[in-house]
């Protein structure tokens, strides 16, 4: 797919206007998974605004983001970094064969402490 088209799609799906960002970094200041991320929440907003989607598509952060939405909650400008991450993730996992988790392998990951909710959201996040 055309890169520009992809950027447009991500912007649309995230429903967020990256131009509203005033680059304060509060999202990254709040992010609980910050240290696990190669591309930081505020950078997602910045990259998508600049149209540089390749960095995002290949980012590890897509899978380390907890989707806790703290960044969205805290943003003083009404920008939603988590939505951008989510939209980029959709771009990746929607491609055939890009499912990040196989159902058969789930039983071996389960232990008693894993809440049901987590499993459900894991499927939602990592699979088509």
């Amino acid at each position: 797919m055309d890169k520009l088209e992809q950027v447009k799609l991500v912007k649309e799906r995230s429903g967020t206007d990256a131009r509203k960002c005033m680059k304060c970094g509060k999202c990254s200041g709040r992010c609980p998974a910050y240290n696990e991320m190669d591309v930081k929440p505020h950078q997602f907003v910045s990259y998508i605004e600049k149209g540089d989607i390749d960095k995002l598509l290949n980012s590890k952060s897509l899978y380390t983001c907890l989707s806790c939405f703290a960044c969205v909650e805290r943003c003083p400008r009404g920008v939603a970094p988590a939505n951008v991450i989510e939209a980029v993730r959709q771009e990746v996992i929607r491609v055939q064969g890009e499912n990040k988790i196989q159902a058969e392998k789930v039983p071996e990951m389960i232990d008693e402490t894993i809440p049901q909710q987590l499993l459900v959201s894991m499927f939602r996040k990592l699979n088509k």
Binding site: K20, C24, G25, K26, S28, G29, R30, K40, H42
Partner: protein
Amino acid sequence: MQRIGVFVCWCGSNIASTVDVKKVAEVLKAEPGVVISENYQYMCSENGQALIRNAIKEHSLTGIVVCSCSPRMHEATFRRTAESAGLNPYMVEIANIREQCSWIHKDMEEATEKAIILGRSAIAKLKLNAPLTSGESAVVKRALVIGGGIAGIQSALDIAEAGFEVDIVETSPTIGGNMAKLDKTFPTLDCAACILTPKMVDCAQNEKIDILTYSEVESVKGFVGNFKVQIRKKARFVDEKKCTGCGECMQKCPSKKGLNDFNMGLNTRPAIYIPFAQAIPNVAVIDPEQCLKLKNGKCGLCAMKCNVNAIDYTQKDEIIEREYGAIVVATGYKPISLENFNEYGYSQYKDVVTSLELERLMNAAGPSEGHLVRPSDHKEPKVITFIQCVGSRDTSGCGKPYCSKICCMYTAKHAMLIREKYPDTEVHVFYIDVRTPGKNYDEFFRRAVEQYGVDYVKGMVGKVYEENGKLMVQGADLINNEQVVIPSDLVVLAAAIEPSPTVRKIATMVTASIDTNNFLTEAHAKLRPVESPTAGIFLSGVCQGPKDIPETVSQASACAAKVIGLLAKDKLKCNASVAHSDETLCSGCSVCANVCPYGAITYVDKEFRLGGGKTELRRVASVNPAVCQGCGACTVTCPSGAMDLKGFTTGQIMAEVDAICKR
């Protein structure tokens, strides 16, 4: 037959780039009644005005239409131009082809067509214009200043200096406002009290100034030059004339648990108190909510102790009625409530404070007598972290969308003062941008970094939490691209400021307009920055928008200059656009008086000739042109159409409608 001149302005390229001004001039020239139609680059310039003046004389014009910017911008200019050429100033109509045409449309053809229609509409209206003359009304030579902070004080002093009487109405028991609470001021670091208290004393001693503290404006009636104001002087239970401010009563008062507002609630005060040592007036006041005598009748110690018998538990609120020629609104600001910012833990942790609280903590007259200690355990903090933009520039709905303007500078000041007084204290500042426009401002900020070693971190704080007795400040360091956690002893929040909550009520009373952030709107951002659109109402200080002290003082003086200019006049020209009743149509039914907000309409019995030598006595409405402000409410409520509004007559508006609707 009318002889109309049309003058189309290019406004440089502002109009000409989207409107074909030459075509507009040409098409309008063909309109019946138009004898000359010109276009020029800047009609408002001296050359442009000369062009109009010459045309008026040369072509014996009876009226002119200027197609230009908004009438709110230059209607007055062109009216003066017309007047100087011997034309009645009300024979001028403006077609707004800039703000309402060239600036909002991109397509040249479309914009040109619209400009022509707007021009036609103005011509249609002008054809029904009649020369108007304004009446006159006397000016009461006294000003009211609402608010006794530095803005109000400065305005009052300047007005009094010019020889006019001024009343300051202040809700709290003393004047001084927020500035009285400050320790030092940027960028010079002189002590706030040292520069403010002499001005307060000047006010108290100035014969022309009457200070009404612990008072509120109750109602405002009237109009420019003739406001009638009711002021509620709240009962302070202490006779102001007798009290010497000795403070004996404060010592004896057994009810000492009241939060000290002046110290931002950081300590307590007795039920009878003087807000601070240099308070003006230096007179005690009793908090009726807290006073045992007033609450349950048991006590009366202060009265017993008072040597001058100043205590009066029976005092009642008093309503004072005064007349003024001008009103200055100087209601100031307060920091916003931080309840929407739980991430910073303001309500959870005692050692998270606002900047204004820090001012009191550092102030020699403050609760810790100038020793910087943290509120929780009164120990000296070793690591202090400042967080900027708390609630400012916030469009999420939690805070305010605007920049509070003063925070960058006062935080630099705080950081600097701390580093100077306590050099072993670590100071961090989380910032989004550091905004320092102003004389010597950036130099000041750089000193904090370069000379005092304050650590500025570009990034915002995500959360503040407690761990091992420390306040952990977690934020982004965008320059180093890392998340940092700074264990701190004291966290200082630069809370956004907002207009004082009283301003809405006051704005409604004086009919001044207010913006979405509750700041009062100035008549024009550049041309009339210290006036409200409502004649006779002036704006001083932060009520108009965030300002620091130097700016506030200069605006207050500017405001005073405007007031002086008004009060210096003996008579004011009234609004010429006033209602007028056609007595041949009026049946005296009184509905118009019911809707007049100014009480400008009265009824008289008048004799009318019926023909054949007969007469008839009929009740008819009569409008006082000095009182009428020209809203037009009466014109619509009058079923017979007897009431009309000069300058905006029914005929004129209908002619505009017709012209606009011609396709």
